[in-house]
């Protein structure tokens, strides 16, 4: 075996590892991968899939069909059946993040997945059919009669499949349901069979788009998965039916309505946590407080106040409880959680949060190199080639002077004239500017076990400027267009289920311009974006 497309050891993106060509390091706007992947159609005017010729679809349309992610399944099942047990997380294989969990290339269909889905369907259906209160509530009948189930089925299928369902589609399953009810003398058996069938159905489990110019229901589905992380509700389906999604203004109105839901704030938080690299913070009280801290900031700036998105990097206040404040060394008075001011501390915005600071640790500590890579790749969308194969990345760098201090040890990456210098001088100084903040987000003046190793906290983003600490880093980066271009590009890739590197440079530039026109207010950008050709067509770049 060997180098299938899965072979990579540092990069998380599948394609990036092969595109090493760049002689320098950290190319700006290194998004020129369109030759690789942009074979898809974009723009309006494509034919309806039913009219597509065989040769057209064979040669130019890459695979688009993908299963729902675990969290999408959890949310959809909750919406359909009021089941909040997160059943997909309990039995399906864990998702991978690249950096999002809806990457069409990674979400393959495998025997373990299909078997686990059958288990999931059985569990959920059994629980539902045996839960009298819940099933009566969902079906809207007390008690549940056979006729009730017959009436319920078309709407269940419509919601589950995200489209109007012909009467005939219910016929076969209802035959089976009625047979089972007759055999067992109880309606709960019939309900069990119905739910089991629905949850295993391909039109429930998979994102399917048959049209190049998405029809109203396909668009409604895209909207609800992007903005809500779940299936459309009855109102959204009705809007699709009424033609409200047939033009740009109509879509914007609907999107605005959707963004006012709590589900939308959750999605924006999830997008950021995946984009910035902390999708699974764990269950400890401290970790949960950090999640709340970041969620509160994102929601306030982006949703509630609709301020320019850059404020998430410059915010002067943060949302803490007493435990987290003590952890950060910030003063806190009162009970519960509240917004407190950073005051004179070097903290501002999300770069100060434990969530962000906990990403990419190494050797039981922060890694200035990893933090530098993370910021260049993830926040600025720059290309960072992996280290050469003979570089031993599993051992901490050692100083030639024998000094135990990190600043000295990491200088071995930047020996003048060495082949390591080119990349590392772009990376390590960024991380060193954050070194006063450990991998738990605590402030430190010296290394944990070496009080003689005082941390200078001096850093630099080569080509941009010098800084020390999260406050100054935020102030530096919000002046870089690349930051805004990069988040827009990531948002688009998240919307279409492709890795960010597959978005072409020209698309990223167009999206940046939209973001700019909206004064970099993310909510306004999102509304504009979902009404644009990038979202309304089955484009792949």
């Amino acid at each position: 075996m060997g180098n299938s497309k899965f072979t990579t050891h540092i990069e998380t993106g599948l394609l990036v590892a092969f595109l090493l060509g760049s002689p320098g390091c950290a190319q700006k706007s290194g998004l020129s991968f369109q030759e690789e992947s942009s074979q898809g159609e974009s723009g309006p005017g494509g034919n309806n899939a039913n009219e597509e010729s065989e040769s057209e679809s064979n040669s130019t349309t890459p695979a688009n069909v993908r299963p729902l992610s675990n969290e999408e399944l959890n949310n959809a099942i909750n919406d359909l059946l009021l089941d909040s047990s997160r059943p997909a997380t309990l039995i399906l294989p864990e998702e991978s993040y690249s950096p999002f969990n809806n990457n069409v290339d990674l979400q393959i269909v495998s025997q373990p997945w299909v078997e686990a889905i059958e288990n999931l369907a059985e569990d959920v259906a059994k629980k539902f059919s045996q839960d009298k209160a819940r099933s009566e509530r969902v079906l809207g009948c007390t008690p549940i009669t056979e006729q009730c189930i017959v009436n319920f089925t078309p709407n269940l299928l419509k919601l589950a499949f995200r489209r109007p369902v012909e009467k005939e589609a219910s016929t076969e399953i209802l035959k089976l349901v009625q047979q089972v009810i007759k055999e067992d003398g109880t309606t709960s058996s019939g309900l069990y069979i119905l739910i089991r069938y629905t949850l295993q159905h391909p039109e429930f489990l998979f994102r399917i788009e048959k049209n190049l110019n998405l029809n109203a229901f396909e668009l409604a589905t895209r909207l609800s998965f992007l903005l809500w992380g779940s299936i459309p509700d009855n109102d959204l389906l009705k809007s699709a039916e009424n033609g409200e999604l047939s033009d740009s203004d109509g879509i914007k109105k609907v999107a605005l309505r959707m963004l006012n839901s709590e589900k939308a704030a959750d999605r924006i938080n999830r997008f950021h946590s995946m984009w910035l690299g902390f999708p699974n913070m764990g269950t400890s009280m401290l970790a949960q407080a950090m999640v709340s801290e970041t969620n509160a900031l994102l929601k306030r700036v982006i949703v509630t106040e609709n301020k320019p998105w850059s404020e998430i990097f410059t915010s002067e206040t943060t949302y803490l409880n007493a435990e987290l404040a003590a952890h950060y060394g910030l003063s806190f008075v009162g009970n519960g959680s509240q917004w407190i001011s950073y005051g004179n501390s070097p903290r501002r915005g999300i770069f100060s949060h434990g969530s962000f600071l906990s990403t990419v640790p190494k050797f039981g500590d922060t890694s200035p190199t990893q933090r530098g890579i993370h910021i260049r790749k993830r926040l600025l969308c720059q290309t960072v080639p992996p280290p050469p194969p003979d570089a031993n990345v599993d051992n901490p760098p050692a100083s030639e002077t024998g000094s135990r201090c990190k600043e000295d040890r990491y200088l071995s990456h930047r020996k003048a004239g060495s082949s390591c210098f080119g990349c590392h001088q772009q990376l390590d100084p960024i991380g060193f500017g954050l070194e006063n903040f450990d991998q738990l987000g605590r402030f430190r003046t010296a290394e944990a076990d070496k009080p003689e190793c005082v941390i200078s906290g001096r850093g630099e983003v080569a080509g941009v400027g010098i800084f020390s600490g999260p406050r100054e880093l935020g102030a530096l980066l919000i002046n870089e267009n690349d930051l805004f271009r990069c988040v827009a590009q990531h948002y688009h890739s998240y919307a279409i289920g492709r890795i960010p590197q597959s978005v072409s440079a020209s698309t990223a530039t167009k999206l940046f311009k939209v973001f700019e026109e909206k004064s970099f207010k993310l909510k306004d950008f999102i509304i504009e974006y979902v009404a644009s050709e990038h979202f309304r067509t089955k484009s792949l770049e």
């Binding site: 899965f6 399906l92 025997q111 373990p112 295993q200 039109e203 269950t283 599993d394």
Partner: protein, 464 residues
């Protein structure tokens, strides 16, 4: 006594069922099927531990490699979990995968490339079927192999885990996805068996309904596939294939009553929760943890054992921990550190404890097979189980520094079973044989006569 043919089926209702090996099918010495005189089913299993065999820079004695060779050797601490099955296993040390460009060679990139040549016998850059796939073809009839992964999570927040959690590969290089849910694995194998809680008629009714739902889904899928573009079709066809596989399994059911060695194992219940034990608090954003992999591995071993006993399959693989594993080892090393981390940041003794735990899962499976009578002997007589690791301990594959876990020198593997005349109970120095040679020897013992990738040599000492 009249003997039954191996192919006898029982009809129950509208479903027919195959039978596992019943005494009545065997010849008088219990070594072959009475009617056809073909031998008892042979099984091949592979168990993998995501460890190397030492810690960076630690030159102290590492408590894994036995000193004496032959049949009178002592098990060091790192292999002490083999104590109960010592006579049933042979240990092969001093295995080596060369770095460079030769048959079965690896590269300097350790975590991506070190474990692969061992599995397929191919040098990096060439694809080939892994040993289990070859065995499946040779031994397995039409039955699919079992492919399990005990490690329940990648245990890091922001990296994609793929490649690190694949053990088995088809000839074209595509990986086989492992099942990580013990519960799903249990149901996949045994949902057709009646246990103590349901009568055969009840079970038949449930299975028939299950099949009806799957039938409907197959029809809907077929219709949907016809409406999709060609590349989308492929994905949906994969789903249809798997649905049909499940239906096929429902059609070929085991007997409703237990037989001498084949019976429905106890239901493992819901899977242990993920990541909620021994989280490494130094990495709050990186969900490093433990999900009772000890129990998960034991359940998978139970399933493999019973799947063999019921002849539901002849080939099984168990990846205990992934390559470069982030699973927390606190419960068996006492250190709040990942499997990968102990090999870089603790010491040889901690690595030995980690190896001991991994090898213990293998020993558990070996003991179960040994303790299950079959024919005139036991199941292990007709099986071969191999245990392999990710790496060895020696010169670093990248920079040749000494005492490195990123080395494919001094690798060690274990083989259990007596199929084909294998004579376990020894420690063998392989004199730098390729670890695929051990796998190939195991494969040849089942009667297979081909090679494993580019590796054609075996270890004849395993027969002496």
């Amino acid at each position: 006594m009249k003997s039954l043919s191996r192919r006898t089926f029982i009809r129950v209702g509208s479903l027919s069922m195959g039978l596992p090996v019943l005494d009545i099918m065997l010849n008088s010495s219990g070594t072959a099927y009475a009617q056809s005189n073909s031998s008892l089913p042979k099984r091949f299993a592979l168990v993998f531990g995501g460890t190397s065999l030492g810690c960076t820079g630690d030159s102290s004695s590492n408590q894994i490699f036995p000193s004496a060779t032959g049949r009178n050797y002592t098990l060091p601490m790192g292999l002490s979990s083999l104590a109960d099955v010592k006579s049933q296993v042979s240990i092969v040390s001093n295995l080596l995968i060369p770095v460079g460009n030769s048959a079965g060679s690896t590269t300097s990139a350790f975590h991506t490339d070190a474990h692969l040549p061992q599995l397929t016998g191919m040098r990096i850059g060439r694809t080939g079927a892994s040993s289990d796939q070859i065995m499946l073809n040779f031994l397995g009839g039409e039955k699919r192999g079992l492919h399990y992964l005990a490690q329940a999570s990648y245990y890091r927040s922001d990296d994609a885990p793929y490649i690190r959690e694949h053990l088995c590969f088809r000839a074209d290089g595509s990986p086989i996805v492992n099942q990580q849910s013990p519960r799903a694995a249990f149901n996949s194998l045994f949902s057709g068996f009646s246990g103590t809680n349901e009568t055969p008629p009840e079970l038949n009714k449930l299975q028939a309904r299950r099949k009806s739902v799957l039938d409907l889904l197959s029809t809907d899928l077929t219709k949907l596939i016809s409406q999709l573009g060609s590349k989308d079709k492929i994905r949906m066809e994969q789903y249809l294939t798997e649905v049909r596989e499940i239906e096929k399994k429902i059609e070929v059911l085991p007997p409703a009553n237990s037989t001498n060695i084949c019976s429905k194992p106890s239901d493992p219940g819901p899977d242990p929760r993920i990541g909620e034990q021994f989280s490494n608090t130094a990495y709050p954003g990186a969900n490093q943890g433990y999900s009772n992999e000890d129990l998960r591995a034991k359940v998978f071993c139970d399933l493999i054992h019973m799947a063999f006993a019921c002849d539901l399959t002849r080939v099984a693989t168990l990846m205990i921990t992934s390559v470069q594993s982030n699973m927390n080892t606190f419960s068996f090393t006492g250190h709040n550190m990942s499997v990968h981390g102990v090999g870089h940041e603790i010491n040889n003794e901690a690595v030995a404890k980690s190896v001991r735990w991994h090898v213990g899962q293998f020993a558990y499976l070996v003991a179960k097979l040994r303790d299950t009578p079959e024919g005139a002997g036991n199941m292990l007589n007709n099986s071969v189980i191999c245990y392999i690791n990710e790496g060895g301990f020696g010169r670093d594959n990248a920079d040749s520094s000494a005492n490195s876990p990123h080395s494919t020198e001094n690798m060690l593997s274990i083989v259990a079973g007596q199929v084909g005349g294998l004579r376990p109970g020894q420690h063998i120095d392989s004199y730098e044989a390729h670890p695929s040679s051990l796998l190939l020897t195991a494969m040849r013992a089942t009667g297979y006569s081909g090679n494993l990738g580019e590796i054609a040599t075996t270890l004849p000492q395993l027969y002496l």
